[in-house]
């Protein structure tokens, strides 16, 4: 993975204060990334602008919508409300990390097959939350799926196909635990 180590200089700052940059090392989708960041750099900006992985979307920027969901040490979190420095020394997995060796994960396959999206903007975050849910609970009921995605807003689908897709992904994982897409 090509890595740029340039510090982020946010364009618009209302504050005249500055703080020294901090060097962090974050393992993103299995690859160690070392970079200098301002402490105020948000994890989502680090992923998109420093690491260059733009699959993680910025939606509301207020920790409501979940479009920016990534895994931090295996747990889904909203990366618009995490500082990049908080991820120092830790593992981050983004939507780009779901696909392994060119094979879609079970969740990705199921979102395609069950058409668990319309515009697609919430989809990366939705799939990261789904992936974390299925790792804990491979056979969730509909209420369990709906509870798990409480923090991921979709303004298109009405959620019906998203719920179907997540349940389908669970079935795929159970039917073929070692095959393509067998991991969540």
């Amino acid at each position: 993975m090509a890595v740029s180590a340039r510090p982020i200089a946010p364009a618009a700052s209302l504050s005249t204060r500055s703080a020294p940059v901090v060097r962090i090392q974050v393992t993103v989708n299995g690859s160690p990334i070392s970079a200098e960041v301002e402490p105020r750099t948000l994890l989502v900006h680090f992923l998109r602008e420093v690491v260059g992985l733009t699959g993680t979307h910025i939606g509301c920027d207020t920790s409501h919508c979940g479009a920016c969901t990534v895994h931090l040490d295996g747990k889904p979190v909203k990366s618009c409300t995490v500082l990049a420095v908080q991820a120092n020394g830790r593992q981050v997995r983004t939507v780009e990390g779901l696909e392994v060796d060119g094979k879609l994960s079970a969740v990705q396959e199921a979102f395609v097959e069950a058409h668990g999206l319309q515009c697609g903007f919430c989809t990366p975050g939705m799939m990261m939350t789904a992936t974390a849910l299925l790792a804990r609970n491979p056979n969730p009921t509909e209420p369990e799926v709906r509870d798990a995605i409480r923090g991921n807003l979709c303004r298109c689908t009405g959620y019906v196909n998203i719920v179907k897709a997540i349940q389908l992904a669970g079935k795929k994982m159970q039917a073929n635990p070692t095959g393509p897409g067998g991991s969540p």
Binding site: A12, L14, S15, S18, P39, D61, T62, G66, P76
Partner: protein, 291 residues
């Protein structure tokens, strides 16, 4: 939105964190889960000179019974309250509340300590801790102190925590046989702050009368409110419809809500009563060994 610039420190011990808090003398903020603080910083409602990230301090995240108390560490995540078998069994008010806090993703980072000491009257855990009669353990430049949570909330975002002190632990009196607790909340949309919330904690004596009671409210005043008159009216009484109803009415009287986008003051006051009754009913069922 990007927060204003700040210096970042990630101490590895409580003493180191307290030394930093002392050095910045009120100009630094503690970063725990960050899910209240970072949004406030993005909006420039908070512009601390430094953030002191306590997430790398070992042994601040735990849920355990020890001696006469349940101890919960400051950086225990909200979702840890939901996952704890001990809490589900003996302190069900805490999983009740955790389930209602924000959403599962926020709960993976949001902490018990942050929720308790942020001082937002919309936070759900303060009322629970008031109803449970909890104590807060802090460490500051002068050492450690333990203070009852009933003395902690002074006004909106104003608490008894000194800016040079760190909250390290919440202590709850150990649950006993014939004790039950519950939390009830209504919200405009999933994950929102409460329109109103009510926490109830009941201990019954061997004859089934109320031995001790704790009732507290969320979102209906400048701070979480301990409804002492309501709980006092139950002590020594049979927990029947009349007494529970009277306590719920008194809890509504203790509410001090403002009209805002979440509803008119009188509606919130009425809901404080309704939710208190529901929480009492649930707590009673649990005290009697049901769910």
């Amino acid at each position: 939105m990007i927060p204003p610039a700040f210096e970042y420190y990630a101490p590895h011990s409580v003493d180191e964190a307290v030394a930093l808090l002392r050095r910045f003398n009120g100009e630094a903020k503690v970063l725990a889960g960050g899910h209240s603080l970072i949004p406030l910083m993005k909006l420039r409602l908070a512009e601390p000179a430094a953030l002191i990230d306590i997430n790398r301090i070992p042994n601040l995240s735990f849920i355990q019974e020890e001696g006469t108390h349940l101890r919960i560490g400051a950086t225990t995540r909200t979702n840890d309250l939901l996952d704890s078998e001990l809490l589900r069994r003996s302190y069900p008010i805490l999983p009740d509340a955790a389930q209602e806090i924000a959403d599962p993703l926020v709960r993976n980072l949001g902490t018990v300590g942050g929720n308790v000491c942020h001082g937002d009257p919309g936070n759900d855990l303060p009322a629970c801790m008031l109803a449970l009669g909890a104590e807060l353990v802090t460490v500051g430049p002068k050492g450690s102190r333990t203070l009852p949570v009933s003395d902690f909330y002074k006004d909106t975002f104003v608490t008894a925590l000194d800016p040079t002190e760190l909250l390290v632990e919440v202590r709850v009196p150990k649950a006993r046989a014939r004790q039950g607790s519950a939390y009830q909340k209504i919200e405009k949309r999933v994950g929102d702050f409460a329109i109103a919330g009510a926490a109830a904690n009941l201990l019954l004596d061997a004859s089934g009368r109320v031995e001790t009671a704790g009732i507290a409210l969320t979102g209906v005043g400048p701070t979480a409110i301990l409804a002492s008159a309501a709980s006092g009216a139950l002590v020594g009484q049979s927990p029947d419809d009349q007494h529970l109803g009277h306590a719920a009415t008194l809890a509504g009287t203790a509410a001090d809500p403002n009209s805002d986008l979440r509803g008119p003051a009188e509606y919130k006051r009425a809901m404080a009563s309704v939710l208190t009754r529901r929480a009492l009913d649930r707590a009673l069922a649990r005290a009697r060994g049901g769910g």
